[in-house]
Symmetry: C2
Subunit: 192 residues, 2 copies
């Protein structure tokens, strides 16, 4: 579901294929925390839709129960702001399904952009991506869980954002922190 004032930027939190600390391809578990923190942040900045993908049906059922509580159950009356944030969330099986659904919605394939904690060869700058979003080009930004997106996902994308770097030589952001920073850089107010 989308809403008035939404941008052309969509995001997807990917649970498969991602890598573990030994760089093996795995499927990770969905978390309630990622759902709430990222949905609230996405809705605040005007992300159009927030997709959560996992091929595992038991994981999808868990997410559906959590979503139902806040969208139609007791949570919806207890906290209407949370209902609004979770209104932009959809569950899908795979990255391909996300792209297919957005292609149907926009009438053309969205630009597929990946994120990584390591510098990739197909870099696109925050500024360049921001300008595409300002022009209303449909974009889907893929965020990896566990130790990041599988290499094949990054290679198939049209571009990858530079890793987030601070002053220090340490980089271990949670996906929730990374997503917040990336979306602020792409959609945040320019008066800072």
């Amino acid at each position: 579901m989308t809403y008035p004032g939404a941008s052309s930027l969509n995001i997807a939190l990917i649970h498969h294929p991602v890598v573990n600390k030994r760089a093996e391809i795995i499927g990770s578990a969905v978390t309630n925390l990622d759902l709430h923190d990222i949905a609230r942040m996405a809705r605040t900045f005007g992300v159009a839709e927030f997709f959560i993908t996992t091929p595992y049906k038991d994981q999808q059922h868990l997410m559906e129960e959590l979503l139902a509580h806040w969208r139609t159950g007791h949570g919806a009356t207890y906290n209407p702001a949370r209902k609004e944030a979770l209104g932009i969330v959809s569950l899908l099986d795979s990255i391909d399904q996300v792209i297919e659904q957005l292609t149907g919605k926009y009438g053309r394939k969205p630009l597929v952009i990946t994120t990584s904690a390591v510098k990739q060869s197909n870099l696109i700058s925050y500024g360049a991506l921001r300008r595409k979003i300002d022009k209303k080009d449909p974009v889907i930004l893929l965020l990896g869980t566990a130790h990041g997106l599988a290499p094949e996902v990054i290679q198939d994308a049209e571009g990858t954002l530079p890793p987030i770097a601070g002053a220090a030589d340490y980089n271990h952001l949670s996906v929730r922190s990374a997503a917040s920073i990336i979306i602020d850089r792409l959609l945040g107010s320019k008066e800072k």
Copy 2:
């Protein structure tokens, strides 16, 4: 504890005095999640120290147990990067204790800056605060839990950062998201 390359920016996550949804002054509960997400983000960007304040001894004991697991227990060998992030965390009773400790460390009182989801009268811009940090002026940035810092804390501060605003008229960020965005704006790489 501090580390080579750390900036002059310190942060404190405040659990009292904060307000609830009815704007009453309360003490909130510490969470494992805030500890990990904010410590990882702070260490990535070069925040010098991350203070967690609560006057409640049972809450302090809970935090001490979590910290011990990752700093000296099994977690320290299982995940050394997490140990490093949690190395910058200290538990204190109050905002006054944080200011006192930093005054001792720096030999002068740090600039006390607050954050709020509502525009305050004592505004300081991100750019102005960034310039102070670039000059190595000691700064302590106070982050509120629950529904935000008590009004008296904001009034006593030397400045308050503008609220984080996206394109949309909805603003319900978690303190983890807000902290990530604020620290990126203050310490993140300028090449974006």
